[in-house]
Subunit: 346 residues, 2 copies
C-alpha cells in the first residue's frame, strides 16, 4: 500500500487513465511511485509545485524544449533521454553549466505504465550523467486519440561562469568553425527505425549530454565565441542562423565535414541531404583563428569530441551567405532548408 | 517580405503545417513574425536556444506546468492566459517573485494561425500584467490527429526574498486557514462552455496572476507559512496535500467558504462538488493565529483578494484528516478526490 492508501501501481500491465491527470489520489500515487523514485533529489521531494533552490553564483541561462519524437524508442536512445539531452545541451550552448531541469508530461489515455517507467528511468539516468537535478514536474492526461502516447517538455536553468560570453551574434570574419563529430546520426537512426530499414550495422542516434565537453572546451579556450547544437534543420540551418545573427558569411569545406559511411549510404537511399539531418549529440564551435588549434585539441581529447574537425571559416559578407566548397572543388550555396524535411525528429 | 525572404504569414487565413516545426525557414518565420512580436524583451531577442539572464539576487524557485485545457477559449480566459497564470502562480506560492518564463508549444497540423496569434497575444498581455518576461521558447508540430490544436508548457523562475520561508510542510496546530475568494469559478466556467450550458449570467473563470497579491500578503505578514493555489482537485485535494505534508489535521467551516450563488447552482446541475472544482486565480494561505487578522486585512485590501475569508484551522491529528463542519452543524470527512472529476480543466 502506498501512502495515499491504494494498492501499488501495476507497472507491468497498467495503463494511464484520465484519473492520473485529475489532481486527486490517482495522480498523487503516480507521481509518488513512479516519478519521485526515479528523480530523487532534495528540491523535488518538497512536494510543492515550485522547487526552492539555492542562490545562484553567477548569471543564469534558461531554455526549454518540447519533445514529440516518433518512435518513442530508437537505436541509441528514447524520448526521455532526448528530453534531458535537448535542454541540457541548449543550456551548455549558452555557455551555462546545466543545474536544474523541470519536466512536463502530456500522457495519452491508455499509455502503458511500463513504457512510462522505462522513459522516466532513462531521464533519471541521463540527468545523472549530465549533472542536473530534475526539481519540478507536471503531469497532464488527454483522452485517447488526442495525443500520441507521450509528449515531454523540459525546461532548465544553468549557471554561466565569469568571463564566458557565448552568442550566435559573436562570429567574426576570420574565425574558424569546428564540429565535435560526424553529422546526421540522430536523424538517420530515427528514419531507419520509422521506415524499418536496415543498413547492415544498426545506425545509432548520437543523443548525449554535451555539458562536460563544453566545460572542457571553455576551460581550454574561454575566448570561444559561438556554441550551437545542430538539431532540427541540421548543420545547414544552424550555419544560416549564425550567419544571420552575426551578419557574416560562412564557407564550409565539404571534404572536412565528418560523416559516417553508413549514414551517407542511408541518406542516399532515403533521399536526405546529411547537411540538414538532425543531430542530438554534436556541437558547432566558432573561435578566433589563433585559438582554433587549442580548441580542436581540447575537443579531440574528450570522449564526446573524439572525431572533432575544423570544417570552415567565417567570411565578411553583407548578404550573410553560407557556401560550401564541394569535393569536386566547386562552390554551392547552403540555403536554409525551405520546408519540411524530417517531421517529429525530436 | 520578412528577413527570411518569404511573404509575410497569412495570419487571418493561414494554418500550421508540418514545415512550421521542421527547423527551417518556415519555422524561423513563424517565430520571428508571431512570437517575437508578442513576447518582446531583450533576453528573448538574442535568438538563441538559451536565454542569458542577470545574476539573481537571492534564492530561486522553479516550476513547470503543461496546459491541455479544452475548450481553448472560455469565458474569462484562454489556454494562453492560463499557461502564464499557472506557472506564475506556482512560483508565487513558493514565496517567489516571478521573473522569467519559458514557453513550449505543441501545435497540430491545420491549427489556424489566427487562433495561435490570439493565444500568443493573450500570453504576452498576461505576462506583462504579472511582471514576467517570456525569455525562451520552442515550437513543435505534430500531424493532424496526433494532438488537439495546441498544447502549451510554461516553466518559470522566481526570486525568493530574504526571510521568506513558505512550504506545504510548515502548517502547525492552531494556525488559521484563509482563502482569497470564492471557489469553483474556473472549473464551472470550463464545464458550462463545454456542455454549452447557460446559467442566466455567464460564469467566468477566475484565471488571474496572483504574484502581486502574494507580495502584498508577505509584506504584511512575512510569517505566512503555507501558500497554495487550489487548481486541479480544488480546495479538497489541496487541503489533503497540506495535511499530509505537515503531518496535521485541518478543520474547515463550510459556511465560511466563499461560493458564488450561480456557481453553486451550476455545480448542483452538473453533479459537481465545488470543494473539488479547480480554481485558477485563488490561493490558500496558512499563518499563525495571531497574524491571521492582519493577513486577512491585507488580502481584502487587494483587488485580487477582496472576498478573502478565514475558512478553517489546523489541528493536531496524526491521521492527517481533513474534516468540514457542515452548515447543519455536523462534521464530514473531506477525502482526496478518488478518481477523475473534470478532465482537461487546465
Amino acid at each position: 500500500m502506498s501512502r495515499t492508501g491504494r494498492r501499488a501501481l501495476d507497472l507491468s500491465r497498467g495503463q494511464i487513465d484520465m484519473s492520473h491527470g485529475a489532481g486527486g489520489r490517482a495522480m498523487a500515487q503516480l507521481i509518488e511511485e513512479l516519478f519521485f523514485g526515479a528523480f530523487d533529489n532534495p528540491a523535488l521531494n518538497r512536494e510543492h509545485d515550485a522547487a526552492l533552490l539555492a542562490r545562484p553564483e553567477g548569471r543564469i541561462v534558461m531554455s526549454t524544449d518540447s519533445f514529440v519524437v516518433s518512435p518513442l524508442f530508437f537505436p541509441g536512445g528514447d524520448i526521455g533521454k532526448l528530453a534531458v539531452c535537448g535542454t541540457v545541451n541548449d543550456l551548455a550552448m549558452g555557455g551555462g553549466v546545466p543545474k536544474y531541469l523541470t519536466a512536463g508530461f502530456i500522457l495519452e489515455e491508455g499509455f502503458p505504465l511500463a513504457d512510462l517507467q522505462r522513459i522516466v528511468e532513462s531521464m533519471a539516468k541521463t540527468a545523472q550523467e549530465a549533472g542536473v537535478a530534475i526539481v519540478s514536474g507536471d503531469t497532464k492526461v488527454v483522452e485517447k486519440g488526442h495525443g500520441d502516447g507521450i509528449y515531454i517538455n523540459t525546461a532548465g536553468v544553468g549557471l554561466v561562469p565569469e568571463g564566458i560570453e557565448i552568442g550566435g551574434e559573436r562570429a567574426r570574419p576570420g574565425d574558424v568553425v569546428l564540429i565535435s563529430g560526424p553529422v546526421g546520426d540522430h536523424g538517420v537512426a530515427i528514419m531507419s527505425k520509422r521506415e524499418n530499414l536496415s543498413f547492415g550495422s544498426e545506425i545509432e542516434s548520437d543523443c548525449q549530454p554535451l555539458a562536460d565537453l563544453v566545460a572542457a572546451m571553455l576551460a581550454a579556450v574561454p575566448e570561444t565565441r559561438v556554441l550551437r547544437d545542430p538539431t532540427r534543420g541540421g548543420l545547414g540551418a544552424t550555419m544560416n542562423e549564425i550567419a544571420q545573427q552575426s551578419g557574416v558569411g560562412i564557407e564550409l569545406d565539404e571534404a572536412a565535414i565528418p560523416l559516417r559511411r553508413e549514414v551517407k549510404s542511408a541518406c542516399e537511399l532515403l533521399g536526405l541531404d546529411p547537411l540538414y539531418v538532425a543531430n542530438e549529440g554534436k556541437l558547432i564551435a566558432i573561435c578566433p583563428e589563433d585559438k582554433a588549434a587549442a580548441l580542436l585539441s581540447a575537443m579531440q581529447a574528450h570522449p564526446r569530441g573524439r572525431d572533432a574537425a575544423a570544417i570552415g571559416r567565417v567570411l565578411e559578407d553583407d548578404r550573410r551567405f553560407v557556401r560550401m566548397v564541394t569535393g569536386l572543388g566547386g562552390t554551392r550555396m547552403v540555403d536554409w532548408m525551405a520546408g519540411e524535411q524530417l517531421p517529429r525528429i525530436c
